[in-house]
């Protein structure tokens, strides 16, 4: 019971924050903010960061970090486009794109565990490499291809209409549910928390630390891959310069959702709420005519505030 309560409190922070901004914008710009269409827009805008945040939650719980997510999304969008352009079917392009994501993630994991270089440096390197490869593949241009049904995934008004939200949103939610179970109910998830809380203890208890880390970065890559394919679906071109700096939004989402850079803490629900919170804030600001620079200042302050409040709550 206590455990449940404490977990519920973990997501209470971002939830309250979310409600506060929603009420605020509902008062400020009710006619534009409080519409079904706007809600669909915000939900769709959350998808890319949200997917990245699911993977990043795993990585951060294990005590690591993945700075390559933005670049991998760009690389995957280009790879997907190239596959389609060269005549592959949508499903092959999708699997190929996701596969590239997993591959880069696994590569991150391999270098981190074999060469024993800290994740920050390794993924900083991959961030550059993946971006470069994306530009190379795309000949420094966007890659045009017929997106086929991949473009439908990110349509705000889905077909069939009873889905209400874009298919990409549902994909994100279903994956979030599955991964929450993996995190809370599997050996892998428990080992992930154990490593992030205290790696020596995990080692002492016979946890295969290297294998788990490899899996964790592969999962991070997997979600960057899914996000990359959906990004392609949204843009309908493969763009090697897309999602620059997105990794920071993803990290912010995880941290606002109760994750810790020191590892051992975090939840997928929290991370998604964090991602949604940032989308709502951006959307509301745009609708109320607040300039982008104010938005940036706000998001920056909120990240620090969220972590500060969390610390206060834990200290009490």
């Amino acid at each position: 019971m206590r455990e449940r309560l404490s977990r519920a409190l973990d997501v209470a922070g971002p939830l309250i924050g979310l409600l506060v901004v929603m009420v605020l914008f509902a008062i400020l710009v009710p006619d534009r903010f409080l519409t079904a269409y706007n809600f669909k827009t915000v939900a769709t805008q959350t998808v890319i960061v949200g997917l990245g945040a699911i993977g990043m939650t795993f990585v951060m719980i294990s005590g690591g970090i993945d700075l390559s997510i933005g670049s991998v999304i760009a690389l995957v969008s280009v790879c997907t486009a190239v596959l389609l352009r060269d005549g592959s079917s949508e499903i092959v392009a999708l699997l190929g794109g996701v596969g590239v994501g997993v591959l880069v993630g696994a590569l991150n994991g391999l270098v981190i565990t074999r060469a024993k270089i800290v994740p920050f440096i390794v993924t900083l390197g991959t961030m550059g490499v993946a971006r470069g490869v994306a530009k190379w593949l795309g000949d420094e241009q966007t890659v045009r291809a017929d997106a086929g049904w991949l473009a439908d995934l990110m349509k705000k008004t889905p077909d069939p209409g009873w889905l209400l939200l874009a298919k990409g949103v549902w994909i994100t939610l279903v994956l979030a549910g599955v991964m929450t179970l993996v995190l809370r109910r599997t050996v892998l998830g428990t080992h992930c928390f154990a490593i992030g809380s205290s790696e020596p203890t995990a080692r002492l208890c016979g946890v295969h630390v290297e294998r788990v880390k490899l899996a964790v970065y592969a999962i991070g890559g997997l979600f960057a891959g899914v996000a990359g394919v959906l990004q392609f679906g949204r843009l309908t071109v493969g763009d090697p310069t897309t999602a620059i700096g997105l990794e920071l939004d993803v990290i912010a989402a995880v941290v606002i959702g109760g994750g810790s850079l020191a590892g051992g803490r975090g939840s997928i629900v929290g991370a998604l709420l964090g991602a949604f919170f940032m989308s709502v804030l951006a959307n509301g600001c745009t609708l109320s005519g607040v300039p982008t620079y104010v938005q940036e200042i706000l998001v920056g302050a909120i990240i620090v505030l969220a972590v500060g409040l969390d610390r206060l709550r834990r200290g009490a």
Partner: protein, 497 residues
């Protein structure tokens, strides 16, 4: 005698609900070596923190040199002449001896170092500990543990300390290094410095110090002249009960051999260690800190690389050498470093308890089984906790250690490797842990126990082997050892025996 240099009266310190110091009286005179003894958790370290200004007491009176003494922080304490030499060496390895001596107290003018002035201070301090290998320009990283300990003391002398507190200064020193240290201590005493000497080795205490104060459960229980008190009486004063009560004898019988080490060598230690451990046997490993005892257990358990040699458990030799494989073979390790390695302090009791053998099916956790296991061991080992979901870091040291041991029981280990199992544990929990160890032996489990606390080894183990500079000596029946002979072999190696 006039007023003592330092006097503490009824000093109290509480951390939340925990009373660390319940009323300490301490008097230290100028020009004496005063031994401060007590079990782990008796309050020695808290007392030191109060003395050094790192922690503010909640009550009591302290006077230093005839004036009230209430340091605002370590800096202030040092300025008043109270210097600490901590057990963990607090040196910056990449700086030179001179830079370390002066760290944080460099003389300067407008931010620029005044090197000639500093040089003079360093040389004066080093002259007082007269040790030729301590050239001021050597990097500390190039010095051995004995020399580093002297650098620490030198740091205290740069500031002209009137009181120097040494926290287990010889626990990592070889016999000749310790001798050098004793000489330095004697010199300081003759210069009129008051030396407070904290040590676990009572024989050493009797040699080095003139007076003593015994702490127990945060109180001063005894103080007097060391010449008049036998070691056994000191031990009983420390634990507060007769020795028979502290080390309960649970009858157990030695069975078949279960663990055999054959020439096990690590990097750099152990050096070709061989050993046979039987079911129903408690085998103690004594030795100085840094003699390679922990390395022996870690190499054996697969946490440190093995260079050579074999480990055979129940007839099976080295099918795998990582901790997972060792756990599979029936080994389990309780780490000496409970906070960093032994337990994951931010996780729940249940998670800590089951981590080495998670109840699962095809990768999915059996949450119910994990919860039942936690409840079971909390009950069986009478761990004082609110329940399996409570975070381990909230428990007392003794109860934390029980969780660490319970993990081995949950994973059903046949061979328990216990590294300092009673470190940082109160006397009551110690007795429970000793009883538990005895009961486990009676159930046919084999226990390999490393401890720096000799009375504990003598009280609990069936056989004891001593490690000296990475070499494991022959295990002999406990009845053939005394504290003095153990210490002797530990400090000088087996050729001394």
């Amino acid at each position: 005698m006039s007023e003592p240099l330092l006097s503490m009266r009824d000093v109290v310190k509480r951390y939340g609900a925990v009373t660390a110091l319940a009323g300490i009286d301490l008097e230290v005179r100028a020009g004496e070596v005063h031994a401060l003894v007590g079990e782990n958790g008796a309050g020695k370290s808290t007392l030191m923190k109060v003395l050094s200004g790192a922690v503010k007491p909640d009550g009591g009176v302290m006077r230093l040199g005839g004036a009230p003494y209430a340091p605002r922080g370590p800096d202030d304490a040092l300025r008043r002449g109270v210097a600490m030499v901590y057990q963990e060496l607090n040196l910056a390895p990449d700086l030179t001896v001179a830079q370390n001596l002066l760290l944080g107290r460099e003389s300067s003018r407008l931010g620029w170092l005044r090197s000639s002035e500093d040089r003079r201070r360093v040389e004066a301090a080093l002259a007082r500990i007269e040790h030729p290998e301590l050239a001021p320009d050597r990097r500390v990283a190039d010095l051995g543990p004995g020399a580093r300990q002297l650098v620490e003391i030198g740091r205290a002398l740069v500031e002209d300390a009137r009181i120097v507190v040494l926290d287990e200064p010889t626990s990592s020193l070889s016999a000749p290094q310790a001798e050098t240290l004793y000489r330095v201590i004697a010199r300081l005493r003759d210069d009129g410095v008051a030396v407070v000497f904290i040590s676990h080795f009572l024989e050493e205490v009797k040699r080095v110090a003139e007076r003593y104060t015994v702490l127990r459960d945060g109180r001063t229980v005894e103080t007097g002249d060391l010449a008049e008190v036998p070691v056994a009486a000191l031990v009983e004063a420390m634990v507060g009960r007769s020795l028979d009560e502290v080390y309960p004898t649970v009858p157990h019988e030695r069975g078949a051999p279960i663990l055999t080490l054959d020439g096990l060598a690590g990097e750099p230690w152990p050096r070709r260690a061989s050993l046979t451990l039987h079911r129903g046997e408690i085998l103690g490993v004594a030795g100085l800190v840094g003699a390679g005892r922990t390395e022996l257990l870690r190499a054996l358990f697969g946490l440190a690389p093995v260079k050579d040699g074999t480990v055979t458990v129940a007839g099976v030799t080295d099918r795998g050498r990582d901790p997972r494989a060792r756990i599979g073979q029936g080994l389990g390790l309780v780490s000496e470093d409970r906070k960093e390695e032994g337990l994951s302090l931010t996780r729940s009791i249940g998670e800590n308890l089951t981590l080495s053998r998670l109840p699962s099916r095809l990768g999915w956790l059996d949450v119910g089984a994990a919860r039942r296991a936690a409840a079971r061991w909390i009950g069986e080992l009478s761990i004082k906790a609110q329940g399996g979901a409570q975070v381990v870091g909230e428990l007392s040291g003794g109860n934390q250690q029980k969780v660490a041991i319970a993990r081995l029981l949950h994973q059903d280990a046949d061979v328990l490797l216990l590294d300092e199992p009673t470190r940082g544990v109160d006397v009551g929990s110690k007795v429970e842990i000793y009883t538990l160890i005895g009961e486990l032996a009676a159930q046919g489990k084999a226990i390999l126990m490393v401890s720096s606390y000799l009375p504990e080894l003598l009280g609990v183990a069936d056989r004891i082997a001593v490690m000296h500079r990475g070499a494991l000596g022959e295990a002999r029946p406990t009845t053939e050892w005394t504290e003095a002979s153990l210490l002797d072999v530990a400090a000088r190696g087996s050729e001394a025996a």
